[in-house]
Symmetry: C2
Subunit: 286 residues, 2 copies
């Protein structure tokens, strides 16, 4: 239901592919719509619901986070990065269009994320909305997601410690997952106590998501994943599975899942949807 709601909201906030430049707008819609698990919008809405946020405000935050995520995938798939041609069961943006268009698609999707969160009512007060914009930018920038990508690039073929691997993932995927949860909470006017325990939950959930992703990448097939399976191993990238082995990676996932649930126990709000999502992150896979 939230996925469907998010799809509608994303469809509305993306420029129509009939307005100039039509090819760019078409490529933006191609890259965002019709696929994806929408994990970040799910987390955003679950946190918003916990705080009793207006769902329309949460839509704004959820779409902004998802647009940042979508831009990062388009750029991550480019030849100078992961050079991948398959994503969500379809050709990647640069494979379907061309490299220059994919570059601009990513650029414009990032801009649209900030435009949306600045333009649409997303918080109980404008000061809070500025805080939300700051939070999203911190999560996406060089000390967040983009920084994680840079660390990931530097790590190819290197031998990392498990702490270094965790540091990379906290930035590369964890920061934006944390932002998704906190933005949903902010949309509901969350106080510091709620923000703190939800932030702790989000940190565990973000790592959990990555550990599970690594397990999936090692176990899954390209067909069920909708993206190229086994590519981390093929690119000689360190993963939780390559470093810990499959059994210990699964044990780590179980521990992170328990810690995520524990963190929610400290949150005064009704976090049943977030509990369910922590389970879903694991159970969608194994």
């Amino acid at each position: 239901m939230i996925q469907r709601r998010t799809e509608v909201a994303l469809t509305r906030c993306l420029p129509p592919d009939t307005t100039a430049p039509a090819r760019l707008h078409g490529a933006m819609r191609y890259s965002v719509l019709g696929g994806g698990k929408r994990m970040r919008p799910l987390l955003c809405h679950a946190a918003g619901e916990a705080l009793g946020a207006d769902p329309q405000r949460v839509d704004v935050a959820a779409c902004a986070v998802e647009l940042i995520h979508a831009y990062s995938l388009v750029h991550d798939d480019l030849p100078c990065m992961d050079n991948d041609v398959l994503r969500r069961g379809r050709p990647t943006c640069h494979a379907e269009y061309d490299e220059a268009t994919a570059l601009l698609v990513g650029d414009a999707l990032q801009t649209l994320a900030f435009q949306l969160l600045a333009e649409q009512p997303a918080a109980p007060a404008p000061e809070r909305q500025l805080q939300m914009l700051t939070l999203l930018a911190q999560a996406a920038g060089s000390r967040g997601m983009a920084g994680g990508q840079a660390i990931d690039l530097a790590a190819i073929g290197m031998s990392l410690s498990i702490e270094e691997l965790e540091f990379m993932h906290i930035h590369k995927t964890g920061a934006l997952i944390r932002a998704a949860v906190l933005l949903g909470a902010h949309a509901g006017g969350a106080d510091d106590t709620n923000l703190q325990s939800l932030g702790h939950f989000a940190n565990r959930a973000g790592l959990l998501f990555q550990v599970v992703d690594d397990i999936l990448d090692a176990e899954g097939s390209t067909v069920t994943l909708g993206k190229t399976a086994g590519k981390d191993a093929a690119q000689d990238k360190p993963t939780y599975v390559s470093m810990l082995g499959l059994t210990r990676a699964k044990e780590l996932a179980a521990r992170l899942r328990a810690e995520a649930h524990d963190a929610l126990g400290l949150c005064p709000a009704d976090t049943s949807r977030l509990h369910a999502l922590a389970d879903y992150i694991v159970e969608r896979n194994f």
Copy 2:
């Protein structure tokens, strides 16, 4: 003086190249600092001064605009775009570092622009600051600068009308120049009358800037430009010079300059610095 002030402000807002990921932060600083005419910060401060804005607020807006400009140059120079190795008299980011780093540098500079404008006080009230963020995003996005790049790409080797060329430039460079002027004015709490006449000035100044750039590209040498001269012609891109010839392009520049001055005549604020900048755009060159 404003250039120096901007250099200091940019130096402060960019992450130190000693914090992780150090290579990315070093490349971000390399791409932004130590070069550039800082035309957009000059316009931003001139408009701010006209409205009596606090110069520290204007610094925030000026840096945000300059970071967007810097990101666009880094991405524009990439092999899949203009494939240029020289910018501001130095190797471009991807030539000095590598393509993947340059991609992330552009991405992270864009994020930093929005982070800065959300995080630092830049307006008399938070509602106004949200308007400024919206304005910057509209100017940078698919219906502004990034859209202009897409139109530019599609125009290579094509025969454009002068109206189509103008449409491209209004997006590619005009939108951000307009944002620079209007953000400076917003920082000073400008009313609609001032915003309207300053917006009209900025539209003319933006086109003027591009016409002069085309003349420079045709007449200048690589050494004085600090970037590869004659590259538009070499890439078979339509320019004002290729379409109108040098004489008529210079006549157009003279007309746009006059129209820019006229637009300022309708602005109640003291616009002497903006008048001087309209002249400077032309006289820096010929």
